[in-house]
């Protein structure tokens, strides 16, 4: 069993922009590694260099934030788990956005990091609120399906199955998949190509 993830609380970091891809989250040169240790510091490295200190991840007001607040289609592009691994090691334990790319969201679940979405207006209000007052606590409550901040409590969406896996601590899929036991071999035997079509 993995840890139970019911609610994540922390200060927020507002990263505006849509379609932010995984090449920006972690530039490919940092994929030249055999462990994920130490990659957190390279999160958004190129974007941050170009922004010359004006990037959300370098904004002192957001220092120590545990929740990253993003726009539409966050994490699109490559399947590299290095992206959520880097953000997790940078200090983020949950993501709130308008929408998330599918593989990115799945990779987050595999690490026990919830990705929840808000309606357009709620997200805009949350972003504005956290920018105005970055010290406030933001709470992602999976049990209640809400995001709570000074702006109030907003309904948050997360896929039912993902929510359940996080709430029950069954998000380490390997553990769950192993439980199928011999059913795996039975399925394999039923597929003609696994045995080379009887050659």
């Amino acid at each position: 069993m993995a840890a139970i993830v019911e609610r994540v609380q922390g200060t927020g970091c507002v990263l505006r922009g849509d379609d932010i891809d995984t090449d920006r989250i972690i530039p490919a040169r940092y994929l030249r590694c055999v462990t994920f240790d130490g990659i957190g510091q390279y999160s958004f490295e190129d974007d941050r260099k170009q922004a010359k200190g004006n990037h959300a991840l370098d904004d002192k007001r957001f220092a120590g934030a545990g929740i990253l607040i993003v726009g539409r289609n966050f994490g699109c592009g490559s399947s590299r788990e290095h992206a959520p691994q880097a953000l997790m090691r940078f200090g983020f334990n949950a993501f709130i956005g308008a929408s998330f790319a599918e593989i990115f969201a799945g990779n987050c679940t595999a690490l026990g990091l919830p990705c929840v979405t808000l309606g357009e207006r709620d997200l805009a209000a949350l972003m504005d609120g956290v920018e105005l007052d970055p010290t406030q606590q933001v709470v992602v409550d999976l049990a209640a399906r809400t995001v709570t901040s000074r702006a109030g409590s907003m309904p948050a969406t997360i896929r039912d199955g993902t929510r359940k896996a996080l709430l029950e601590g069954s998000w380490n899929a390997a553990v769950v998949l192993i439980e199928a036991g011999d059913a795996i071999e039975r399925t394999a035997r039923s597929l003609p190509y696994v045995s080379g079509f009887g050659a």
Binding site: R32, D46, R72, C76, S170, L177, I184, P192, F197
Partner: protein, 468 residues
């Protein structure tokens, strides 16, 4: 009569081990492909959990992302790359996995070698720690790009826990105009449906245009499904697929081949199958297409101009402005005539023999423009060998192109092939994200291989129809 089913439904159901309590499906994976970038951490976790590889004979490995394309001599010049390769070698040896390394003569980009070795077959499920795994769908396989934790899951159980996507049928009707390629078809699909239009969907590509395509063209189309947000894309298997597979190394022989072919045909979608959505596009209306921005949906016909700000929907304006600024384009500007610094033909999208033949057909007509760095990188050692047997490498060389060894090369910045500074690259690869080609400020224009070569000769983006 049983109800008609789509290929997706048939393959998904046949591979279902069980439904999981959280509503996901435990799906058996018939073919697992691994490479040096996304596997080392998965093997480390496997060791930590004290597990073995459950079906080592269903797993195959190669080295592609980090491999240099100039000298592949060991030890590799980049010590980090060498370390990754050593980890892959050790993991494959320890767990009994077949590795197609450089000495094997069969090394190449994972999505090029799977099909050419006959590993990828219709009716299979395929997984690989790489988002372009959708490529393998060209055969009528259901192929998933996965993250490292999922690579661990497949190694440990040969299964994935997955949410069942919906299926959207994308019908490309009619015929393509001259000078329009499979690459243009998929760039057009993404332009029309958006970079996140496919989230939650598997794409079934069909219609007269797709039916008429070779296997290699279908591979190009399926390859970029993920750029449209769809994790899975496939084409129904037909005689073109069966003929392609006959005689390949990992394909059954003799009577077993006939049984295989019958099985493959049976997996195709039935007439009258249900789709959650349908989209129809007219082949005739697809132009040679070029991306101008920082995601693959920001594309134009080569004779078109960027929109003016007033024509951009409100919700997209911030992204449009950001892309214009990064690329150095003004709204309303024409894309043709854009000067290029680098030309790159290669990648899992367009690094196959038919791509190189098309590229050579254009390369014959001229010389690389002064000041343009131009690379042709075969997708695999077998592609390289075939191209050399046909003399294509000589055509490229005498036109002023560099002829390289097989690998991912300039598709992404994990090996020495990189853009410098703000260089603009005409590229046959699949991603134009900021920094993708190795320089944080480098700029990428995606297009077909023929268009890339035409741009290399002219030193600027040109309409390949005027060259052919």
């Amino acid at each position: 009569m049983p109800a008609p089913k789509s290929l997706f439904t048939k393959v998904w159901d046949a591979h279902t081990v069980r439904e999981l309590p959280d509503g996901q499906t435990q799906l058996f994976i018939g073919l697992h492909l691994i490479h040096e970038v996304t596997s080392p951490q998965a093997f480390a976790q496997l060791r930590e959990m004290g597990l073995r590889v459950r079906f080592p004979q269903q797993t195959f490995a190669t080295v592609d992302h980090i491999i240099p394309t100039d000298s592949q001599r060991r030890p590799l010049a980049d010590s980090l790359a060498e370390e990754m390769l050593q980890h892959l070698e050790r993991n494959c040896a320890d767990f009994g996995i077949k590795l197609f390394d450089v000495p094997s003569g069969k090394q190449g980009i994972v999505h090029v070698i799977g099909p050419e070795l006959g590993l990828t077959q219709p009716g299979m499920t395929v997984a690989c720690g790489d988002s372009h795994t959708s490529t393998h769908g060209a055969f009528g396989a259901i192929a998933f790009g996965i993250g490292t934790s999922q690579v661990r899951d497949v190694l440990a159980t040969q299964c994935l826990a997955l949410n069942r996507p919906k299926v959207r049928r994308i019908e490309v009707s009619g015929k393509l105009a001259g000078g329009v390629y499979a690459k243009d078809v998929i760039l057009h699909v993404i332009r029309r449906l958006g970079v996140n239009g496919g989230v939650g969907f598997a794409y079934e590509y069909g219609g007269a245009v797709i039916d008429a395509m070779s296997m290699e063209e279908r591979l190009t189309v399926c390859n970029m499904s993920i750029e449209g947000g769809a994790r899975v894309g496939y084409v129904n298997p037909d005689e073109i697929a069966v003929d392609y597979l006959r005689g390949r190394e990992f394909v059954a022989k003799g009577a077993a081949f006939d049984r295989a072919a019958a099985y493959w045909r049976s997996t195709a979608s039935d007439a009258g199958a249900h789709y959650d959505e349908r989209v129809e596009l007219a082949g005739r209306e697809i132009p040679p297409t070029v991306t101008w921005g920082i995601n693959p949906g920001q594309a134009l016909g080569v004779d078109e101009a960027l929109p003016h700000m007033s024509q951009v929907p409100d919700a997209d304006r911030a992204g449009f402005a950001e892309a214009c600024e990064f690329m150095g384009f003004a709204p309303g500007q024409h894309i043709a005539g854009t000067k290029i610094d680098v030309a790159f033909v290669g990648s899992c999208t367009n690094g196959r023999i038919s791509d190189l033949r098309e590229a050579a057909r254009v390369a014959r007509r001229g010389k690389v423009a002064p000041g343009v760095r131009a690379l042709i990188v075969p997708g695999s050692q077998q592609v390289a060998k075939q191209a050399e047997a046909e003399g294509l490498h000589e055509i490229f060389r005498s036109a002023g192109f560099q002829w390289r060894e097989a690998g991912c090369s300039m598709c992404l910045a994990m090996n020495p092939d990189k853009l410098q500074g703000r260089e603009i690259c005409a590229s046959s690869s699949n991603r134009n994200f900021k920094g993708r080609q190795g320089s944080p400020t480098g700029r990428t224009l995606l297009m077909s291989p023929a268009m890339v070569v035409a741009a290399a000769l002219a030193g600027k983006v040109v309409d390949v129809r005027e060259v052919l």
